[in-house]
């Protein structure tokens, strides 16, 4: 009964999306304004119905209703409750339902509160939102029904992918989805603005919070995903240029560019067509990423339910959405009049440079990700890895970071480098000092060396926009920029340090034996069997002491899950302020010895602290922008009221 309620709500939501699309599109024609009144209510009820369907899915997972196919295939009565619930979205069908539910709720929110744009643009936006939603509803109902019943209820569930039985990962995909959905809203706004040719600073201000929100979630998602790969996969690396990782990085790069170009449009009414283009590209990248990952046409370490039929369906959606939006762009871009002019040396100039560099990086990642697909068309299967991405990406990352140090100091419209001479010299001296210091620290590659240098320079430079200002009077959005730029410097420092100073040790150690890695001395004190609700494991007890200090206990495991059978490694980490010791226990190496893999990674944690700071910066800017908007709205309402009183 619960499953049927969910399915009914899903159908209702789909029907309302169709109504919303039809009414929105009709209302754009002159003389048909009557149907316009239907659009906003349809969007609100659609949001409620779709959220209800998702709650019903959570419910069948919570009670482990094994007559529902999805529950039987992905859950198990012995699983802890939190993972039962996470199982609802830890699979293809459930994750798609979560996606449309969040998208429908976002549409409902816009329909309820957004009144700043011309009403026609709003109707076009909501129609575009319904058009995107409708494709996903069709996808869900036709080929991925999450509420499908089994003819005979299963006796027991088939478990959840053991790699996914991890609290971090349970919340990782939804985070990315919130990001993608935020970009879908920006996409709808871009389409709406193109349809009514209303590309104004106000449009950028309305779109910006959605881009900021999406960007915060994407940043958190990528940071968490990187940390997950780091400690769960047991390879000691934090980024593998895997297609799935690239699929999350590409929308982030586009969203970062969009965020900055939207700022230019909002503040200076320039970069109109470019901002629209990025609005289309950012969401397109999340769709292309989803397609590449789900269709199985690229090989990846991340196990997804791969299905060519679903791949074809997503490809059809891609054609409709992206093809349609790009065609609309080609037709309308030339009718969008050119915005305000600006000098090369200006805040706009720096932001345009940043945009060009980000787009180039995006192009490089996209090309590297698609290259195997291209060559496969000529029957050549290849894998593109770090030897391509790292050096080629660096060509554009480094100039971008250098301009980032001075860009925020420049004034809008027109400025001169002489005016910011002193801060530039300061940053230059700091970088030179770091470069010299890094040389004395020992031999390292060119990229880590440049990384350390620029990281230190950028860390200092990120605070320079605050100089000479009363800190209590600085707007929250500026604080957001400072924190986000500083976070990037912190993350870069972590990456460069990991690349430059990591030490690895692979040893076969008997119980009681020791191994040395960097300043750590690690003793294997015993090896014991361990067991959990659905796994058994070999657990190594290690005593690790840093530079002869008090030993810390570490318990890495090598786990065997039995539903479904799979081996995973649970690495153990000892975190100090200046780095992490990373330990993995492997199989028996004969003669009572065990394989032990140890890494000492100085400052590696800075990568993820930096990522969190970047997200915090985005969140601060979002809060700043939204509270500003609310304040303005209150002021407008007060003026309107006063006028009303005067009229009386």
């Amino acid at each position: 009964m619960i499953a049927e309620l969910g399915l009914a709500a899903l159908w209702l939501a789909a029907a309302l999306a169709a109504l919303q699309l039809y009414a929105g599109a009709m209302a754009l024609r002159p003389g048909r304004e009557g149907v316009a009144a239907l659009v906003r209510p349809a969007a609100v009820i659609q949001g409620i119905a779709c959220a209800f369907a998702f709650v019903m899915l959570l419910w069948v997972f919570a009670i482990t209703d094994l007559s529902v196919k999805l529950v039987a295939a992905n859950s198990h009565s012995a699983k802890p409750m939190i993972f039962k619930l996470a199982g609802a979205w830890g699979n293809h069908e459930g994750s798609m339902l979560l996606w449309v539910a969040v998208m429908a709720l976002s549409g409902a929110l816009i329909a309820l509160v957004e009144r700043r744009l011309p009403e026609k643009t709003m109707l076009a936006t909501l129609a575009a939102q319904a058009f995107v939603g409708l494709g996903f509803y069709a996808f869900l109902i036709a080929s991925s029904n999450p509420f499908e019943r089994l003819p005979q209820p299963a006796i027991e569930g088939l478990g959840l992918n053991p790699l996914l039985q991890d609290i971090g990962l349970a919340f990782h995909p939804p985070t990315l989805y919130f990001g993608y959905v935020g970009l879908s809203v920006a996409f709808s706004f871009a389409v709406g603005a193109m349809l009514t040719r209303q590309v104004t600073p106000e449009f950028a201000r309305v779109m910006r919070p959605w881009v900021l929100g999406a960007w915060v979630f994407l940043t958190l998602g990528i940071t968490a995903g990187s940390y997950w790969a780091y400690y769960e996969l047991g390879w000691g690396g934090w980024w593998f240029w895997d297609p799935v990782e690239n699929a999350s990085l590409m929308p982030w790069l586009a969203a970062t560019a969009l965020l900055h170009s939207a700022s230019v449009l909002a503040a200076r009414d320039a970069l109109r067509a470019w901002t629209i283009m990025l609005g289309v590209v950012a969401f397109s990248m999340s769709m292309v990423g989803t397609f590449l990952v789900r269709s199985g046409i690229l090989t990846s370490v991340h196990a997804f339910a791969v299905d060519p039929e679903r791949g074809s369906f997503i490809l059809v959606l891609l054609t409709l959405y992206i093809g349609g939006a790009l065609a609309l762009f080609a037709l309308r871009a030339s009718t969008v009049t050119e915005g305000q002019r600006f000098a090369v040396t200006s805040r706009e100039g720096a932001l345009v440079f940043n945009n060009v560099m980000l787009s180039a990086i995006l192009g490089i990642v996209l090309l590297g990700t698609l290259y195997p697909l291209l060559t496969e068309a000529f029957d050549v299967r290849v894998s593109v890895g770090p030897p391509y991405f790292n050096p080629v990406g660096a060509i554009f990352v480094i100039p971008m970071l250098l301009v980032m140090t001075v860009g925020p100091l420049l004034r809008w419209r027109r400025d001169s480098l002489e005016r910011i001479q002193r801060p530039m010299i300061l940053v230059g001296m700091v970088m030179l000092g770091m470069l010299v210091a890094a040389f004395t620290l020992g031999e390292m590659g060119v990229l880590p060396l440049l990384g350390l240098t620029i990281a230190v320079g950028l860390a200092i430079a990120s605070f320079l926009p605050l100089r000479g200002r009363r800190l209590t009077r600085v707007p929250l959005a500026v604080w957001g920029m400072v924190v986000a730029h500083f976070g990037l410097a912190v993350a870069l420092f972590g990456m460069a340090s990991e690349g430059a100073f990591s030490e690895e040790r692979l040893a076969a150690v008997a119980v009681g034996g020791t191994a040395q890695v960097g300043p750590w001395e690690v003793t294997l004190s015993e090896v014991l069997p361990a067991a959990g609700p659905n796994w058994t494991a070999i657990e190594g007890h290690l005593l690790a002491s840093y530079a002869g200090g008090d030993p810390i206990e570490l318990d890495p495991q090598s786990r065997s899950f039995w539903a479904p059978p799979q081996e995973t490694t649970e690495s153990a980490l000892a975190t100090r302020w200046n780095g992490q010791l990373y330990a993995v226990v492997g199989s028996e190496a004969g003669a009572g010895r065990w394989q032990l893999r140890l890494w000492w990674k100085p400052f590696v944690t800075f990568i993820w602290y930096g990522g969190m700071l970047v997200a915090l910066g985005g969140a601060l800017a979002l809060i700043g922008r939204v509270t500003d908007d609310l304040r303005r709205r209150a002021v407008r309402a007060r003026i309107a009221r006063r006028r009303g009183e005067e009229a009386v």
Partner: protein, 175 residues
Amino acid sequence: MRWWWWIPLLLFAGFLGVAAYQLTQPKNDLVPSAMVGKPLPEFDLRAAAEGMPGASTADFHDGKPRLLNIWASWCLPCIAEAPQLDQLKQEGAEIVGIAIRDRPEDVAAFLARHGNPYTHVGADDLSQVQLAIGSSGVPETFVIDGEGVIRYQHIGDIRAEHVPILLEKLREAGE
């Protein structure tokens, strides 16, 4: 209207074409290569990991056919094909590896994690040998006969269905 506004759409159409083609295409496994039938180019590579011998052309001149596997620790399809390489080894194939643009510690870690099917692993830091052999990507596997002549080229990861093909080619090369 200016023509360059259509460029994004054209690029996207190109992507769609390739993707749609890929989705519908049955995989063609047998690709003739220009290097098949020619002798291996001369090379002598240092060892890619501690405790393993490096690889050189001389290793292929003792009358015994071998597999030459081009791979890298940073390559994901190489992880996917590791079980198949192990199986080939179990079936008696001798496999020489060439690790492309790799670091010794990464190679050692990969072999420790995914198994070591190789008798020799040479390090090709600049892809020079790879290009000379006529391989443009990783992974690729060549069948080399006892005189050092390339007899067959397999492009891409070895999947379960390719194992019998490679064993058959190896047997033919020994005749």
